[in-house]
């Protein structure tokens, strides 16, 4: 999908993505010429359809994880299906997690928890964030387009 500023006859560019947490999605686009902004709002079904394709509106900022679509979407996965490497030596030390962030991470189903932890940790490392807080998780979730994570 693309958005066109009809008045300027210019293709609008991605500006910002927001995930309110209710299964909907809001994506803002801006006209590079006149600066006019429009927002695309999708309902839960439309959001799900896009995420089912394994694509992220606004583009990917972290590499796709192995079996990301499966692990992020299967509701009946075994908690111990995957053995997660907690600290790959080649990638350096993991950032710290505050107790509140750990508590929230603990509410993520075991089937996908390891992948979610890895994604947030890589986000923190990429942004030079030494400690993951609940606020960092919220920001990362929106920036990375992690619906349901």
């Amino acid at each position: 999908m693309k958005f066109l500023c009809v008045e300027c006859d210019r293709q609008m560019t991605f500006e910002e993505r927001q995930l309110p947490g209710d299964g909907t999605l809001a994506v803002a686009f801006v006209c590079p010429k006149c600066g006019r902004k429009v927002a695309m709002l999708t309902n839960p079904m439309e959001t799900q359809l896009v995420s089912s394709l394994g694509v992220v509106v606004g583009g990917r900022t972290v590499p796709e994880q192995p079996l990301e679509a499966v692990r992020g979407s299967v509701a009946t996965g075994r908690a111990d299906a995957f053995h997660e490497d907690e600290a790959p030596a080649a990638k350096g030390a993991w950032p710290k997690w505050t107790p509140e962030a750990q508590e929230r991470l603990g509410r993520v189903p075991g089937f996908v928890r390891g992948m979610v932890k890895r994604i947030y940790s890589e986000y923190a490392r990429d942004h030079g964030i030494p400690e993951i807080t609940v606020a960092v998780m919220d920001t990362a979730r929106t920036e990375l387009g992690l619906e349901g994570m």
Partner: protein, 260 residues
């Protein structure tokens, strides 16, 4: 007066979302993972209950016993049986870089199946708005198949068997995802009903340009009468590779493996 709006294909400015590029990258990952695999063989039928998984598992094991490097991708996401048929270990799957390491099952067969990641006794269910799940569930399953191809560290294989569920949909998805259509090994039972269902599947395979390896007629000599194997072979110009009784001897699998 209608607005003068350029069409989708007229707009070529840089797009940060790059949705088509993301899809292209997904396809490239599949192609990269399949590159060291000598041949992908889709085991299909179009009819349920003819023994596709049974044939797949035993054929893969026979290949493994002869020293060939083989894998089985269980593409029956909703009724996976390959893990049990291949005596796969029930240990957590290991992540290695950008991929998941497949299980090593009986006779060295590498395996990946939805059964390895689902809770025992639970159906494959996806998180999402259930009210309209028919709209996105098929897309989600196709994405799972794509990841089973692209995100599993199959490594160099002489052959990857893809055990397809009944019907034609999963074959179409597989053919769409692979760089080239897979070779097709067809399983039928002797009956007229099976022949009718399997011929539709074979026609679909031919129309996709998939090479036909031959037909395995299963459950021969029992209560199922008919000549589906010969009839289909004649119609599609492909050989009957094996006629398997209800309890095939190990040697029959070795003979069949030698024909592939």
């Amino acid at each position: 007066m209608p607005l003068n709006i350029r069409t989708y294909h007229d707009l070529n400015e840089p797009d940060r979302s790059g949705l088509l590029d993301q899809v292209g990258a997904q396809r490239a990952r599949v192609a990269e993972r399949m590159a060291p695999i000598g041949r992908v063989i889709a085991v299909m039928s179009g009819k349920g209950g003819v023994g596709k998984s049974f044939v797949t598992a035993n054929l893969a094991r026979a290949c493994g016993r002869t020293g060939r490097a083989v894998g089985v991708l269980d593409a029956d996401l909703n009724g996976p049986t390959a893990a049990r048929l291949l005596d796969a270990p029930r240990t957590p799957l290991t992540l290695a870089g950008d991929a998941v390491v497949p299980a090593t099952a009986a006779d060295g067969v590498r395996l990946f199946s939805m059964a390895q990641i689902l809770e025992d006794g639970h159906p494959l269910a996806f998180r999402g708005p259930q009210a309209e799940s028919f709209l996105w569930r098929g897309v989600q399953e196709a994405a799972a198949l794509r990841e089973f191809l692209a995100d599993v560290a199959w490594g160099p294989l002489d052959c990857l068997f893809v055990d397809l569920p009944p019907g034609l949909g999963r074959f179409s998805e597989l053919a769409d995802l692979l760089p080239a259509p897979p070779a097709v090994l067809t399983v039928t039972i002797p009956t007229l009903e099976s022949r009718d269902a399997v011929r539709r599947a074979l026609r679909a395979a031919v129309e996709r340009g998939a090479p036909l390896l031959g037909i395995v007629e299963n459950m021969v000599g029992g209560p199922y009468a008919g000549d589906a194997g010969d009839s289909l072979a004649q119609e599609f110009g492909t050989p009957v590779l094996a006629r398997l009784p209800f309890h095939p001897a190990v040697g029959l699998w070795a003979t069949l493996a030698g024909k592939l």
